[in-house]
């Protein structure tokens, strides 16, 4: 009985049904899109963040701002790669692994292709810390370092530029005229931030031992380390300041002597930010949906008013109050769920056809994950229940005598 009258009520007055629907359609559309984009941005940011490395701390030797042990302030802090490499042994409780990092732009040539890209001198552990995972070949190894081999691990964009379709592994390139053998190519990874030069996709990585031998650098541009306990990275920085201050001649209290970029700490902050972003977007979406729900409720209230006579007739013909209640409640719920389904499909369709290539690196690819779907359905149901119940109760409390008069 419900479905028969329901069908009649909804289909026989298409304009009314359509108007009621539109609010919910739009609300659902908005909430789905917002949540899909929100979770994509979140995922993407974390991914590109990991592109820099996970749980690492970058240390940039800088200039002292305090006098220390008879040394004036304004001295450049200079740290040798040897000092850097002893850190895990000297501070075994604090530092798990470390890599010196030399970098400068160099001419890199292969046949007639020449570019002016960043060349980095690093060690083996750099791979684990910076996620420079090979797609082909391998990263630098211990023998490369100890033998000062002229080998290079290159970024994928650099590889495409120099080698086009060819496999670069085992081939030769010239860095400042010196031949190097390519041992590996970086996988495609997303990286939106960087330091000291170009992104990894454009760079060539060589053993730091080869780098210092060829270019004569004595002090690192920066170095990377991974604390043993990532959650205790702020403490590890203190320990490091104390240890290096003695050797490099700066006060442990001189915060500016070493510039620090702490990824573990930032990761936590970014996580919190992204979580609040998702909540924020979800709230905007839910409020939009709520407005749709209020629309349904108010239109249904008007409809109930408009249909008092019909309700009166039905009551006189023997309808029970709960049948009237169910009729109007089901009508609202049907409108809301149909609107939800339409809005959801529209959002899904838009996400499918929307050209995302240009912004993919920054916002990711928004897609409908189960969580978004679940959240939308739950919100719709709650709004449906509330905005369906009010008009239905009003309808069911109609006095048939009043409604039939005149």
């Amino acid at each position: 009985m419900f479905f028969k009258t329901l069908y009649r009520d909804l289909v026989r007055q298409p304009l009314r049904t359509l108007l009621t629907l539109s609010g919910v359609v739009w609300g659902t559309f908005a909430v789905v899109l917002l949540l899909a984009f929100g979770s994509a941005v979140k995922e993407q940011t974390m991914k590109s963040f990991r592109g820099m490395g996970k749980g690492i701390v970058l240390v940039f030797p800088s200039t002292t701002t305090m006098a220390y042990k008879g040394l004036t302030k304004g001295r450049e802090v200079r740290i040798t790669p040897e000092t850097v490499e002893t850190l895990p042994t000297k501070l075994p409780e604090t530092i798990e692994m470390v890599s010196p990092d030399f970098s400068r732009a160099k001419r890199i040539r292969r046949k007639k292709e020449e570019v002016f890209n960043t060349v980095r001198g690093v060690n083996v552990d750099y791979e684990k810390m910076r996620n420079t995972i090979p797609a082909k070949g391998r990263f630098l190894n211990d023998a490369d370092l100890s033998l000062r081999r002229r080998v290079a691990f290159i970024g994928y964009t650099l590889a495409e530029k120099l080698f086009k379709e060819e496999d670069p592994v085992g081939q030769q390139i010239f860095i400042e005229g010196v031949p190097f053998t390519v041992v590996g190519v970086l996988i495609h990874k997303i990286q939106t931030s960087n330091y000291n030069g170009m992104r990894d996709e454009h760079a060539a990585f060589i053993p730091w031992t080869t780098y210092t031998a060829l270019y004569g650098d004595k002090f690192v541009n920066c170095f990377i380390y991974r604390p043993i306990h990532p959650e205790e990275s702020p403490q590890s920085i203190e320990v490091l300041r104390n240890h290096l201050g003695d050797r490099a001649g700066f006060s442990p209290q001189d915060k500016d002597a070493l510039q620090i970029w702490d990824f573990s700490e930032m990761e936590g902050k970014i996580n919190i930010f992204l979580l609040s972003l998702t909540i924020f977007l979800g709230m905007i979406g839910s409020f939009t949906l709520l407005v749709g729900g209020v629309g349904v409720a108010s239109i249904m209230l008007v409809i109930v008013e408009e249909r008092r006579r019909e309700i009166g007739v039905k009551l006189a013909m023997g309808a029970k109050r709960r049948q009237i209640l169910a009729q109007f409640f089901l009508e609202s719920i049907t409108v809301i769920l149909t609107g939800g389904a339409v809005g959801f499909s529209m959002a899904a369709l838009l996400l499918k056809v929307l050209p995302m290539d240009k912004i993919k690196d920054y916002v990711g690819v928004p897609k409908l994950n189960p969580l978004v779907a679940l959240a939308t359905v739950a919100t719709l149901l709650i709004i449906g229940l509330i905005s369906g119940m009010m008009p239905a109760r009003k309808a069911a409390s109609t006095d048939p005598i009043e409604a039939l008069r005149g």
Partner: protein, 238 residues
């Protein structure tokens, strides 16, 4: 069939107390055709609402086929209305967005009658009121007289013993009015008990008993001896 005992109906709005019915005694036997008359404000509408189980009395007893319905809940009364009472209104009160067929079907939907039986009964009723060809038309496409005939078919849907008609010809021209009254007369002859509110003495003439209400009380209750020229009742001496 129907027995009203000391029925009082009192309305209270704030401090104002208004007694619409002041102790009604009335007995209706099966197969009667009664016209209820009275000026507006006399309480006849209140009486009709009570008889139709749309309202409950403040005091008194209402026995409908032996059952006291005065104290029943709204939903219990709904069931009685559904099975025992057919309503015919002055303004027809058809559902405008439904076809004639669907309007007639309505009381059966609330009674949970199956699809096939509904179809059979609706078709039978449409034929009974002479609107066989109009099943799929909406009220807006019909004349007043046709609409009222649909309403009568709807009142008969669950084959109730009692038909309550409130000014059934009030919105009709005299020709359509006469057709409707002829239909009522026929139904009465077939055994339906009909209670009809009217202002019109000509229309009241179709009934075989006339009850007049004045100031919430029955002022006269007389058999309609003279009858109506075109519709002699079986017992009337013709």
């Amino acid at each position: 069939m129907i027995e009203l005992v000391k029925i009082r109906k009192v309305y209270r709005t704030g401090q104002v107390v208004y007694e619409a019915l002041k102790g009604i005694h009335m007995k209706v036997n099966p197969g009667e055709f009664i016209a209820i008359m009275g000026p507006s404000g006399s309480g006849k509408s209140t009486l009709m609402n009570l008889l139709g189980c749309l309202d409950t009395p403040t005091e008194g007893f209402y026995f409908l086929e032996g059952e006291d319905v005065a104290g029943l809940s709204f939903d219990q009364l709904s069931e009685i209305r559904n099975k025992k009472i057919g309503f015919v209104f002055q303004s027809f009160n058809l559902l405008l967005y439904s076809t004639a067929f669907e309007n007639i079907e309505l009381p059966m939907l609330f009674d949970g009658i199956g699809r096939r039986e509904r179809r059979e009964r609706v078709e039978m009723l449409l034929e009974r009121v002479g609107l066989k060809e109009w099943a799929d038309h909406r009220p807006t496409e019909m004349s007043g007289g046709q609409q009222q005939r649909v309403a009568i078919a709807r009142a008969l849907a669950n084959d109730p013993p009692i038909i309550l008609a409130d000014e059934p010809t009030g919105n009709l021209d005299s020709k359509s009015g006469k057709e409707i009254m002829d239909l009522f007369t026929e139904l009465n002859r077939e055994g339906k008990t009909i209670l009809m509110v009217t202002h019109d003495h000509g229309i009241a003439g179709y009934a075989r008993r006339k009850v007049e209400i004045l100031d919430g009380q029955i002022s006269t209750d007389t058999p309609n001896g003279f009858g109506h020229p075109t519709s002699p009742s079986p017992e009337s001496p013709v």
